[in-house]
Symmetry: C2
């Protein structure tokens, strides 16, 4: 298995790299973080970078993220043993189609998209015989985007989920898991439909709610936008972080995980109507019960090591003085 | 005016303290943070602490937060030049009634509650002639509560809002503002009804939304609670921080700023319905427009010094490894 090899890698021994050539299609926050880690952890001999925009590609080159740079997707994957597609989910199909005739037999083709059923539906029809297509999703990121936003260690301690297909080759899956483990990720498997429901509630709906409340606040007549901004530290500012995420990425997530998102939004609205009624009728007991229950969820998240126990996310308290 | 005096205080010169006796009624996160700052910045000769629970009072004494400790509210305020009420807003009226016959003529009586119209309605009828009642609200706090949660510098760089009454004495207001400035706060004035609308959108509704989505996630049948917790770092965990705030405080806020909260919740739901429709009909352009607009709000908040520009609130990325 890979565990001994990984131990060697961690110890910095001069072992052969995991892949000869890794091709990164898309070089935003995720792609560029992978590139940085692959380089520093010596996981490949050669990194090929391809992206649609000449400007972004040039920036990737300035940052020295790879060895070869091209806007030609087909060219980019020709020698790759591992191809990682890190693009807005809406273009997954077009990318798969563009590379289908250049993929090497035995290559592993994976992605990092936040929706899995749609990505599979888009890409699978284009995957040639002999290429191992394994949909993946690292649960990592920040509100920033683009090649400058990536950094070494982004995936450290984070989950990477795989939604293998019935025909997925077990060895290829092991190899891909070992790759993500080498980036520091914990790995897990589930089926695509379940993934999409889980992500709808832990990621997609939270982002949508955040975008929505920031929009509501910006549109009020009775409270000015400058008041919203000045006094945002009393709760609101937390939402603005998620609402500053990449608009293209999130537009595509909404369009490509529609059913699960609408299902979870309906649940959210139902619960909000109940809470709203408790407020209207002054039912303090109901409010207290709900507000107590949710405190326990926070505790579990901290105990599971999924967030810091520091008050206020450990925000620097002096941050607030910058604007004085 | 106070500015020279403040400069002296900041320089650590041995000037007379601002108040002879400050009484803190309620010694949770806010009260205990005030106590710590008053002590270290030498803003009073004597700090009297009073709270309902014997256990909490004992803890305050163990922490050495004051000079005198009593559960007798009337006794606590007898010699006070400044009385600060830091209790859940629902008990403001009862506290005012309990102290009304012991307040010293010329004393300043203020509070820190998140709702102002209700606090005024509850307290004002009990305020005796000659006592300066000035409703206040420091926009500061964390998701933690109780006397152990307070810390020095909590108010540094944060806003403290006052909602003076038509009869409020200008000198008393200046003196109270100088006190908060000495705690590091920036101060502002507005009328109580407007305060309650502003806070409904920047603080109350964000907390309610956070409590609500955490409740929704915990109640799903298709996604387990352990999945929600494991994969929470993809957005959800941000909401759990607000949803871990003090249940008693937030129950009272909901009950005592009902009208403004219901108004803002209605706006939020209306906007969410619009967004939901855009998702259902696959209207990518509408989604992209909204998601772009909100990014600008985040930028303004950072430019105004109201949040850190660090990705992910500057969270320690290693926090995620604690649970491995």
């Amino acid at each position: 298995m890979w565990s001994k090899r990984l131990a060697n890698l961690w110890d910095g021994e001069n072992v052969a790299s995991m892949f000869k050539t890794i091709s990164l299609l898309g070089i935003g926050l995720i792609g560029s973080s992978i590139a940085r880690d692959v380089r520093s952890r010596r996981l490949a001999d050669r990194i090929v970078i391809s992206t649609r925009s000449e400007k972004t590609l040039k920036r990737a080159e300035e940052l020295g993220l790879g060895d070869v740079y091209t806007t030609d997707l087909a060219e980019a994957v020709r020698d790759a043993d591992l191809v990682i597609v890190s693009v807005p989910v809406g273009v997954s199909g077009a990318v798969a189609e563009a590379i289908k005739d250049s993929l090497k037999p035995g290559a592993i083709l994976t992605d990092v998209g936040s929706t899995k059923s749609s990505v599979i539906a888009q890409m699978l029809p284009h995957v040639p015989e002999g290429v191992h297509f394994i949909p993946g999703h690292p649960l990592a990121g920040t509100e920033h985007s683009g090649p400058d936003a990536g950094f070494e260690g982004l995936f450290e301690g984070r989950w990477c989920l795989f939604t293998p297909l019935p025909e997925t080759d077990a060895d290829a899956l092991e190899k891909l898991k070992a790759f993500w483990a080498a980036l520091g990720s914990k790995t897990d498997e589930m089926d695509a439909a379940h993934h999409d429901k889980v992500l709808a509630i832990v990621s997609h709906v939270p982002h949508i709610i955040a975008y929505n409340i920031v929009g509501t606040a910006a549109d009020l007549e009775t409270v000015t936008e400058s008041e919203v901004i000045k006094y945002s530290a009393s709760g609101f500012r937390d939402f603005t972080r998620l609402a500053a995420s990449d608009p293209t990425m999130w537009r595509d997530v909404c369009l490509h995980n529609k059913d699960a998102i609408l299902e979870m939004l309906a649940r959210f609205s139902e619960d909000l109507a109940y809470l709203q009624k408790a407020i209207r009728w002054g039912d303090g007991e109901k409010l207290f019960d709900l507000f107590t229950h949710t405190r326990a969820v926070r505790r579990s998240i901290i105990e599971a090591g999924q967030d810091t126990a520091e008050p206020d996310f450990g925000r620097a308290h002096t941050a607030s003085k910058a604007g004085e």
